[in-house]
């Protein structure tokens, strides 16, 4: 057989066996993974809190100022460095796309761009507003702007992982 050289369970030395095998006790969960899990949860919570704090701080900047530019450029530069210098483990993309399935996305995104472009071409008057014109008043309040920045940051991280 091909697996003849593989040591079988009874031949494993007693000392090397995991603790849960000894004394015939029921299997216990190993300790290390749970500690690792706790560390991972703590790290995610810390990163989440940091992102929320940053978003709130960034939402307090006044538009058309250097600080308003920096709150976008700094995370942008950081993400570009991560993406090209030290990329995280990426979610593998599909080898191919179903053309018919993708065409639904292409049509929806294309029409959205066309709808926006037609409003932009008209100068976004009140009778034909652009998406930006509609969203801007909502972004005038700090909580909404902070939520928008947070979504933008999370989307950027999701893109880097792709």
């Amino acid at each position: 057989m091909a697996a003849d050289d593989v040591p079988r369970w009874p031949s494993v030395p007693r000392q090397q066996a995991p603790r849960r095998w000894r004394f015939g006790r029921p299997a216990l969960l190993p300790r290390q993974p749970s500690r690792r899990l706790r560390n991972s949860v703590l790290r995610k919570a810390a990163v989440g809190a940091g992102l929320i704090a940053y978003s709130w701080f960034a939402a307090g900047t006044r538009p058309f100022t250097i600080s308003a530019l920096l709150i976008v450029l700094v995370p942008g530069a950081a993400l570009f460095v991560i993406a090209y210098v030290r990329p995280p483990r990426r979610i593998p993309p599909p080898d191919r796309l179903d053309l018919t399935g993708f065409s639904y996305w292409a049509i929806a995104v294309g029409v959205l761009f066309e709808w926006e472009a037609s409003a932009f071409k008209d100068g976004a008057p009140s009778w034909h507003p652009a998406l930006t014109t509609l969203i801007d008043p909502a972004l005038g309040t700090r909580p909404v702007k902070a939520a928008g920045i947070l979504i933008w940051l999370v989307a950027g991280w999701a893109l880097v992982r792709r």
């Binding site: 308003a68 179903d98 639904y104 929806a108 972004l139």
Partner: protein
């Protein structure tokens, strides 16, 4: 005024369509790729990756800096 309402309804319908597509794409055995799938596919070549990341940066600048 009616034109403004039609424009807003158009935007709302198109954004809703994107959410519906994502929902349909997540069904089992769906032929429609998810947003993440097709973005990942577009980002396979370096040029595609750069363009998508620049688009993300532009969105941030457009909505939060100006």
């Amino acid at each position: 005024m009616a034109t403004r309402v039609i424009t807003i309804i158009g935007f709302a319908a198109l954004i809703l369509a994107l959410f519906v597509l994502e929902f349909l794409a997540r069904r089992k055995d769906s032929r429609i790729p998810t947003l993440g799938d097709w973005l990942g596919y577009v980002m396979r070549p370096k040029a595609g990756r750069l363009l998508i990341l620049l688009g993300w940066l532009w969105l941030g600048w457009h909505y939060f800096s100006r």
